[in-house]
Symmetry: C2
Subunit: 213 residues, 2 copies
């Protein structure tokens, strides 16, 4: 069915760009990259062209021109329709208002943290913490170079602040968890099979790591 509601947020980005001016898909992709929006939207050329077609099917955008420059492939230029402009705003409102379940890969892995055992788990999380803080520094640098320097209004990069905040929170949790593993406050139970599923028992004091203190 062509009428399944559009869910890919890349369509939101397309709509946002076409609200400013008509464009062909390749230009959308490069504009998004220029504006650092490729950290909020997964810009994949294949998906982009599919998304544009889906938007046309829904009547949210329409082709306005098909130009050919020399013998390069044709470029089809699209523009937002009135419907598209209003749905753009409605969709943003909905996405902001209503939290939906997301399934980040990190959460899946944390879910089975136990399988690594305390030492390897702490080591892996420590490495993540390093990479996260590097990424945070890089992002701060981008903000300094765009917003703080007055090149771009803060509102236009507000999502960068938002994800920065999220990463900082993740970093804090990660570091805290490493500490709790090392000082023994996050206990590794020993699981055992019985006829009726699983039981577990807290390790005895002598089994616990001696690093507590």
């Amino acid at each position: 069915m062509a009428n399944r509601k559009i869910s890919n947020t890349l369509a939101l980005a397309v709509l946002g760009l076409l609200r400013e001016q008509p464009m062909h898909p390749y230009e959308m992709a490069s504009t998004l990259r220029e504006r650092h929006k490729d950290s909020s939207f997964k810009v994949n050329s294949g998906s982009l062209y599919d998304t544009v077609e889906a938007l046309v099917r829904h009547g949210w955008i329409e082709p306005v021109e098909t130009a050919r420059d020399g013998r390069r492939p044709e470029r089809t230029v699209y523009a937002a329709t009135g419907l598209g402009e209003s749905e753009f705003v409605r969709w943003i409102d909905e996405l902001l208002r209503t939290p939906v379940a997301e399934y980040p890969k990190f959460m899946a892995a944390v879910s089975y943290l136990g399988a690594l055992g305390p030492d390897r788990a702490a080591e892996a999380l420590t490495e993540r913490a390093q990479q996260l803080s590097r990424r945070i520094e890089e992002t701060r640098a981008v903000l300094a170079d765009t917003v703080d320097s007055g090149k771009v209004p803060r509102l236009f990069m507000i999502e960068v602040e938002c994800s920065l905040h999220a990463w900082e929170a993740e970093l804090a949790w990660t570091r805290r968890t490493v500490t709790e593993i090392r000082d023994g406050s996050l206990v590794w139970p020993r699981a055992e099979r019985t006829e009726q599923g699983w039981t577990w028992s807290a390790p005895t004091d002598t089994e616990r790591k001696g690093t507590a203190g």
Copy 2:
């Protein structure tokens, strides 16, 4: 190509379950729900059966029995292979170690917060804050009923703590942003078309909302 690396984390969940004991797919789904793991993994029946097949193709799991109970559809029971068990641990390690870009829907919407105008944006974020805090309360209740009451070891629900932490951070950012919109510290520039792309200007003092204080 059947050899594209498995990326769906539902496969991680399957592996985690089969490491405990052989199971048929439907039982995997219900076990995951019972254990509240359906908040870290998107458990969709269609995807589940596809994922199981992919795991078989990769040799990470294998069918061990095909039972038929009365005239019900056949149930195929699977077990993890040695390869599957080791890849399970390796995969978790990798997912923990290396942060990867995710594209949450919220971030996409925040990216175009400007399009709603200050009043509607603040209103939408306020509603989100309410829903988030409700969800946080519910999650706390689940933790109280499982971990705090000693029914389940903390390590086995650690991902719930992790996502709780993430939601709290999101809630904090959301509330702070509402405040900044209302007191005028997050400024709405007026964008204008010129021949050379866009310019913007900060609103004059008299244009700014009078709620600042």
